[in-house]
């Protein structure tokens, strides 16, 4: 840790080598590293999901790659876990918060750096290490795999804690002059609230992981297996203990992760909808309050999972009420998005399409969530496929849409060029159709196959219908996954065919990151930090002005807003 090394990455772009980039403490470099990590994970995770579907639909066919490793149900479960771990930890958690957040948070609040840059670097490398660990755990024997997975999850939690510490402190301490709390962009609010939420839940997760790991390795008795299994629903226990432990533990974490993944996406979508409707965020204060509400509910729901699983008869009811009460802030957010779109001069470019796609998926997934929030209904009438359909729609796919929206929007600031709009449009529509074709039928299958009210004959009839729907779902999966090659082509093509300098503010947006060059220069704002004079969403404030950037002094608004 020589001082000179750290100083050296002041200009890594000017060819000081890959190594100094890798060990950089600079927030933009680290943000990009997270995004590359997420890109790699999402591609692998997506291929895994296609393989899983293919295998589930045609279990007898030998599928290359799958044939060699898939011999037992445990391997299949392990593969699902790998898919889930990659997607949830390294895509949904890493990209919107750690990737875009690290890159953009200091830019949007007018800071030169995160509060603790070295800690930031440590977080990234711990995250990368946990990615390696989780992937490796798939190739180990089951028992060793679980141990390694748990250890990796602990490392990830610790890294998330360090990141959250950094995000929170940066937002509190490093805002530039004039960047008061009400003037913070909603994205910054979302990252901030999410960091606080992460701070609280990842400590709990770390404690849980450490305890379980100690149970497994050192023979301690925090959650002894016997009493743990006794607390689980019978239909899960009968299939044998190990995969259940494996799966249940995963969902333990996933419940809180939902909110961690969604919060920054809410911020991104709010931001984009306002920018491309050329209107201020409708009821901005309420949106910020709603974000805090989501954080609060997210924390409480997590608490339920940690403290009460299978122990308190009233707990499912509490959970039910809490999970339903998520609907209130969610409804506020939805109202605000629609209110912003209302009468807006909407620009339907690819970033906006993905943002609107997010809203659509959020509504669709949210509606089925209302069924699941009722604890009695969920157990009675709904099978796993309904749940899979629900959370993929509302969490996985919606969040991915927000990530893609953010990528299309901030690509000029990240790389100094725009993604191709034509390819982006085709990619959006193919993906949008594809994900609905996958997850809507899964809801139906889930409802059909689990109807206890039906007789045996009717069930048999349904089973055949169900299997053809499943085949359709599998084909739709293959279609959607293939459609992503368009994105990869677009991504690589845009990067490689970078031409002359991109304009500073191609979207005519208001926030501070657009006041500097594209791609963002190494020193952010240079020697003089920017000064903020107004709120983050001053679009179309009167008929003359389309927008007023945050850094524009009140005296001369007409001059700069072209």
């Amino acid at each position: 840790m020589v001082t000179y090394d750290d100083g050296g990455d002041a200009s890594p772009s000017s060819g000081s080598g890959v190594f100094s980039r890798l060990i950089s403490t600079h927030h933009k470099t680290i943000g990009l590293q997270y995004l590359w990590l997420a890109l790699a994970s999402v591609l692998v995770g997506m291929v895994l999901s296609a393989l899983l579907r293919l295998h589930a639909t045609w279990p007898d066919r030998a599928i290359p790659f799958l044939a060699s490793i898939e011999t037992t149900p445990e391997r299949f479960a392990a593969m699902r876990l790998l898919h889930g771990s990659l997607m949830v930890f390294f895509v949904l958690t890493a990209a919107p918060q750690l990737g875009f957040g690290n890159f953009l948070l200091p830019l949007q609040i007018g800071a030169a750096e995160m509060a603790f840059p070295s800690l930031n670097r440590l977080s990234f490398w711990m995250t990368a290490g946990s990615l390696v660990g989780m992937t490796a755990s798939f190739f180990l024997s089951l028992a060793n795999g679980i141990n390694l997975w748990l250890a990796s999850a602990s490392v990830f939690s610790l890294a998330a804690l360090f990141s959250a510490l950094n995000f929170t402190t940066t937002t509190i301490e490093l805002r530039t002059k004039g960047m008061t709390l009400p003037r913070m962009p909603v994205t910054v609010w979302a990252w901030f609230v999410n960091a606080i939420l992460s701070m609280l839940i990842f400590s709990v997760l770390l404690a849980g992981c450490a305890a379980v790991l100690s149970d497994r390795l050192l023979g301690s008795n925090f959650f002894s297996t016997a009493s743990f299994l006794a607390a689980q629903p019978q239909n899960l226990v009968r299939q044998g203990s190990l995969p259940i432990l494996w799966q249940r533990l995963f969902w333990y974490f996933a419940q809180a992760e939902v909110y961690v993944a969604m919060l920054p996406c809410f911020g991104i979508v709010t931001h984009l909808v306002a920018t491309f409707s050329r209107k201020p965020v409708w009821k901005e204060r309420l949106v910020v309050l709603a974000l805090c509400g989501v954080g609060l509910v997210g924390f409480c729901v997590w608490g339920y999972h940690m403290f009460a699983t299978g122990m308190n008869p009233y707990a499912p009811l509490v959970f039910s009420v809490l999970a339903s009460s998520l609907g209130i802030p969610a409804a506020f957010l939805l109202a605000s998005w629609l209110g912003t779109l209302w009468n807006g001069r909407v620009q339907l470019n690819t970033a906006m399409l993905f943002a609107i796609g997010f809203i659509s998926l959020f509504i669709a997934g949210g509606l089925s969530g209302m069924f699941l929030a009722r604890h009695d209904l969920a157990r009675a009438a709904v099978s796993e496929e309904f749940v899979i359909g629900h959370f993929h729609l509302v969490m996985g796919v919606a969040a991915t849409f927000a990530i893609l929206a953010a990528l299309f929007f901030w690509f000029p600031k990240l790389f100094g060029t725009r993604l191709n709009e034509g390819l982006g449009n085709i990619h959006f529509w193919m993906t949008f159709a594809g994900v609905y074709a996958i997850f809507m039928p899964l809801h139906w299958v889930g409802l059909l196959t689990q109807s206890h009210v039906l007789g045996e004959a009717q069930r048999a009839a349904i089973a055949s219908a169900g299997s053809s729907i499943r085949t359709f779902v599998t084909l739709a999966t293959v279609w959607t996954v293939s459609a992503q090659t368009l994105f990869v082509i677009n991504f690589l093509y845009s990067l490689l065919s970078r031409k002359q300098a991109e304009e500073n503010n191609p979207w005519r947006a208001t926030t501070l990151e657009w006041s500097i060059a594209s791609p963002a220069p190494e020193e952010n704002f240079g020697k003089t930090p920017p000064v903020v004079y107004r709120g983050a969403y001053e679009f179309h404030v009167d008929s003359e002005l389309d927008f007023v950037p945050q850094h524009l002094a009140p005296e001369l608004p007409a001059e700069k807003a072209h």
Binding site: M1, D6, E113, P117, T176, F222
Partner: protein, 222 residues
């Protein structure tokens, strides 16, 4: 806030500070507190981010222990629970830790009176007391092990070891931070030793209070 320096400067100095640190949570922030040349709000060196950092870190650590504490309380009701008889040595250790907090405060008072030697001496006493506490905890473990009570013996013993172990680990981070503040040459134009000592003192007192809470939990909750 106002008066942010350029990215390079910030990276340069913080990078060095953290790199030298132990890698534990708040100490890492505290270590970074070593230097940072920014003139902050109100004209003082902008140390406020270290205060914020250590405060947030404390909340986070508190959540970690609260999760374990709630697991402890719930697990206690599920049977197969054989309470651990707390070794008497723990009371001695507690006294040592409380004393260390007192000497830390005395050291800081010397420092603010610019009595460098007095500070150094008392700071060293604090560090030694911290190490002594850790050794005492180890001896307490040996005593329990001698009675045949191990981590795996029963749920109560598992919790006893994880509470004391996790606390000891965090306190070890605190000892590293103490050493760091004592050994580092602070540039007076940047963040002063006074600030670094204060940030570390928050963490140390928190560890102290946390230990009292854990002890009460283990003693009363058995």
């Amino acid at each position: 806030m106002p008066g942010t320096t350029t990215g390079q400067d910030l990276e340069l100095v913080i990078g060095k500070g953290n790199g030298g640190g132990g890698g534990t949570k708040p100490p890492a922030g505290g270590n970074g507190g070593g230097d940072d040349g920014k003139p902050g709000r109100k004209g003082q060196p902008s140390a406020s981010k270290y205060y914020t950092g250590v405060a947030i870190g404390i909340v986070s650590i508190l959540m970690f222990f609260m999760a374990l504490a709630s697991a402890f309380l719930i697990r206690k009701g599920t049977g197969e629970w054989v309470p651990v008889h707390i070794p008497g040595l723990l009371w001695v250790n507690t006294a040592i830790l409380l004393t260390s907090s007192a000497t830390l405060e005395m050291a800081r008072k010397r420092l603010s009176n610019s009595d460098a030697n007095g500070f150094r001496r008392l700071w060293q006493v604090t560090t030694v007391l911290g190490v002594l506490f850790l050794v005492g905890q180890l001896v307490a473990w040996r005593i329990l092990a001698g009675q045949g009570i191990y981590l795996a013996t029963n749920p109560a013993s598992s919790f006893f070891y994880i509470f004391t172990g996790a606390h000891a680990l965090h306190l070890l981070g605190g000892v590293c931070a103490l050493l760091y503040v004592a050994w580092r040459n602070f540039d007076p134009a940047k963040v002063s030793r006074v600030v670094a000592a204060e940030v570390v003192s928050y963490y140390w007192h928190f560890m102290d209070a946390l230990w009292l809470f854990l002890l009460a939990l283990l003693y009363l909750g058995k």
